[in-house]
């Protein structure tokens, strides 16, 4: 009986700590470390949707996960791309950097070509070009 009570207390504590940690990490206006402003983001899918755009020819490659952090005063992003098709896919991607006023914080990046094997994931990462860049969009384009 005593053991059960102790275990239950431990589980409650762990749960509370878990929740507190998650809340503690997230500042208001951020989700998974990424800036979201007033956008309602309640899941990773919401975040990815709000931060990803397609230009030119559309691709089936999709961003599935994104995490942001700071490297000094520069924003750092890790984005996971997924190719769930049965063929090799070729895409190009770039990050668009946005400043506090919603204006582009830097000159447009160059398109980066990328080859993705069938049924594979690939982590692309980027560092903001300057401290003014406080938000971003990941742009994808098919190269096939």
């Amino acid at each position: 009986m005593k053991t059960t009570l102790t275990l239950a207390a431990l589980a409650t504590m762990a749960l509370a700590v878990g929740c507190a940690t998650k809340k503690g990490f997230e500042q208001p206006g951020f989700a998974f470390g990424c800036p979201i402003g007033d956008t309602k983001v309640s899941s990773m899918d919401d975040l990815v949707k709000s931060k990803t755009a397609m230009e030119g020819r559309r691709t089936t490659i999709q961003a599935t996960e994104m995490r942001c952090t700071k490297a000094g005063d520069l924003m750092k992003i890790d984005a996971n791309l997924n190719n769930d098709s049965k063929t090799v896919k070729r895409i190009a991607y770039k990050f668009r950097w946005i400043d506090r006023e919603g204006i582009r914080a830097a000159e447009e990046e160059s398109w980066k070509p990328l080859m993705m094997y069938e049924n594979s994931n690939l982590m692309v990462n980027a560092v903001a070009p300057n401290p003014k860049a406080v938000d971003f969009r990941l742009i994808l384009m098919s190269q096939e």
Partner: protein, 188 residues
């Protein structure tokens, strides 16, 4: 009559085919005209190196370190304007606002010439720059680009490796180094 019409149509068709068209393109788009070193490779290298170097403790410290650009050796079998690569890296870093650049070896002659010119009798002494006021760099940036090319009948594979280093001039320590790899394959 029919013969002439056919000839005229053929001539018009040939004329039409030979018609040249010039259009502006995306200077930052992916260029795959040949598998030789191209604009996309230059941009990829410059962007990747500059962003990586900005995170080096020597640069990120916020002390606005002074860097001088030295040679990037071209160890590939093709002609590559390595100065264009270092110029792009320098521009990217300059825009990042974390580093200052001192005049480099190729820029020294015009710099000295300008100082000498200002010290000539034609300039007001108060506004002319003095000798001995130039600031030496704390770090030097150098690197190299190598390639491995393999070719069989219908396939040509090119692998480029660009390596850049940041050396502390005072103590000779390597403060930062990074690489960018690029692979391009052409098949007929």
């Amino acid at each position: 009559m029919k013969k002439y019409l056919a000839l005229a149509a053929a001539a018009a068709l040939i004329g039409g085919c030979a018609h040249e068209q010039t259009r502006y393109g995306d200077a930052r788009g992916v260029e795959t005209v040949t598998n030789e070193f191209g604009s996309t490779d230059l941009q990829l290298i410059a962007e990747s190196m500059a962003r990586s170097m900005q995170q080096a403790p020597a640069i990120a410290s916020g002390n606005l370190p002074i860097v001088t650009v030295q040679e990037v050796k071209n160890k590939t079998s093709e002609y590559i304007d390595t100065r264009a690569i270092t110029d792009s890296i320098r521009s990217e870093l300059q825009k990042g606002g974390k580093v200052r650049f001192a005049v480099d070896a190729p820029g020294m002659t015009p710099q000295v010439d300008e100082i000498k010119r200002q010290q000539s009798e034609y300039y007001a002494k108060e506004s002319a720059v003095e000798k001995g006021q130039m600031v030496g760099a704390q770090y030097r940036m150098e690197g190299n680009i190598t390639s491995i090319v393999k070719q069989v009948r219908d396939t040509k594979d090119v692998y480029y490796k660009f390596n850049l280093q940041l050396w502390n001039i005072r103590n000779g320590l390597l403060e930062w180094s990074d690489e960018k790899e690029i692979r391009k394959t052409t098949t007929r």
